[in-house]
């Protein structure tokens, strides 16, 4: 019985051996891996296109909802600009609901003060971040995404970061928070104060007491100077107005919105991005910069 099985096994093995490809054929792992990498890149590109399109679509939906109920703040994606923003001179007709095109020619950039910029001027990609200090998604962006961008892209010279203020009308203390941040910028404490304002958002958003929160991260002398600027400097809002003007040209409809500037093209990405997706997107932008 066992011998029969053994013979049968050998008989089958002989038949299967006829399938053996010739020894002269050598599968090429390098070519195979290259094809696999190409496929992976294509798939990621495809996914990103869908995500960007989806986010733009979602932003359009949020804008539509907000237009119908002014003052609302859609937290999962971000906060949307209502139709009654005092600083944004919208047309008197119905608010447009179509999302901005995924890629638009660059308008002339509004002047940005130096303290709102981070990174090398030679970085191939500029990332402009429109935020409202009272927007929960903006706080989440600064808590989870911006530190990674700073470490992996800004510090390595790949990306230059620019903060742009976009205080929304439904947030009563957002403009005051921007004044504190910009006053801190004038005294050389912009980054730590911006982070502190976002970090303590839930505390000061109830009563507007930004002073006591900002005082925790700067010296008493610096705090005195900041308070003085917030109280008396009539030019402190100039940078905010410049950012709002730029937001108009970028057709920003919600916060946060990231605008990527590569080779003169501006590509807005509305909402709070998923970090992994953002990194993939940035890697592609950095790789493609200068090729066109």
């Amino acid at each position: 019985m066992a011998k029969n099985e053994s013979n049968e096994g050998r008989w089958v093995d002989e038949r299967l051996a006829s399938l053996e490809p010739g020894a002269e054929w050598k599968p090429d792992p390098e070519r195979g891996l290259s094809r696999l990498h190409d496929r992976r890149r294509a798939a990621r590109r495809h996914t990103i296109e869908w995500v960007v399109a989806g986010m733009a679509g979602a932003a359009a939906c949020v804008a539509l909802v907000v237009t119908m109920s002014p003052g609302a703040c859609a937290r999962p994606l971000g906060c949307s600009a209502g139709g009654s923003h005092p600083a944004v001179q919208t047309s008197p007709g119905p608010a447009p609901v179509a999302p901005p095109p995924p890629q638009t020619p660059a308008p002339v950039p509004a002047a940005a003060v130096a303290f709102k910029q981070f990174g090398l001027p030679t970085a191939p990609v500029l990332c402009e971040i429109y935020t409202d200090y009272e927007c929960p998604s903006c706080a989440a962006l600064y808590r989870t995404v911006v530190p990674v961008l700073m470490e992996r892209y800004v510090a390595t010279g790949k990306v230059r970061l620019l903060h742009r203020d976009f205080p929304l009308p439904q947030h009563p203390y957002a403009r005051l928070a921007a004044r504190y941040a910009n006053a801190a910028g004038e005294t050389g404490h912009y980054e730590e104060v911006v982070n502190q304002i976002f970090r303590t958002q839930s505390t000061w958003a109830s009563d507007g007491d930004l002073s006591s929160q900002v005082a925790q991260v700067v010296s008493p002398e610096a705090m005195d100077k900041i308070r003085e600027l917030v109280a008396r400097d009539s030019h402190l809002d100039d940078t905010v107005m410049a950012d709002m003007s730029m937001a108009m040209r970028d057709q920003i409809r919600q916060t946060p919105t990231l605008v990527f500037v590569v080779d003169g093209k501006r590509q807005p990405l509305p909402g709070l991005p998923q970090l992994e997706m953002l990194e993939t997107y940035l890697d592609q932008l950095v790789a493609s910069a200068g090729r066109k």
Binding site: V12, R15, S18, P29, R35
Partner: protein, 168 residues
């Protein structure tokens, strides 16, 4: 490329297994170019199936590659197309030997396509040089029963072969 939170090095894994898997697939589909296509496809599926990354990746990608190959084999039109091409092992044989060998390969593949996926998987994995334990891991089987299952697969192969082409 490193994947996920584990230390699984996908590129290194690819280099270790690609050639062997491509050759295993080539046994089924006959055409080297098609075999490389299917091997890349199997690795692509592995890349996307992160849960399989790690120590079970080898078995997973072998099983996937063979299933892709068997599915491909079932396309009769493609199979006849492949067989119209000269097999790389036969370049030194005379025309009659080439014809006979091509006929033999056609018959073996036809039998493999007819004996059920599990039986074909067992025979192909075993004949590609995998040990019983590796075959068991690839097909998620109890290692102690693999020997019996391979034996049954061999019986099924011979029975089907005789049924289709008679005793040789």
């Amino acid at each position: 490329m490193q994947t996920g939170e584990t230390s699984f090095d996908f590129d290194e894994f690819f280099h270790q297994h690609y050639a062997r898997i491509a050759r295993t697939v080539a046994r089924v589909v006959g055409d080297p170019m098609r075999a490389e296509d299917l091997a890349v496809e199997a690795f692509w599926k592995l890349w996307r199936h992160r849960e399989a990354h790690g120590e079970k990746a080898g078995g997973w990608v072998y099983r996937t590659a063979i299933r892709l190959a068997l599915n491909d084999l079932r396309g009769a039109k493609r199979r006849s197309h492949y067989e119209s091409q000269a097999g790389p092992a036969l370049v030194t044989a005379n025309p009659e030997e080439q014809r006979a060998a091509a006929e033999e390969r056609e018959q073996v593949r036809s039998v493999l396509a007819a004996i059920g996926e599990r039986n074909a998987e067992l025979l192909l994995l075993r004949s590609s040089g995998l040990a019983y334990n590796d075959v068991a891991a690839a097909l998620d089987l109890n290692p102690s029963s693999v020997g019996v299952m391979i034996s049954r697969a061999q019986q099924a192969f011979r029975k089907e072969y005789v049924k289709q082409y008679g005793e040789k």
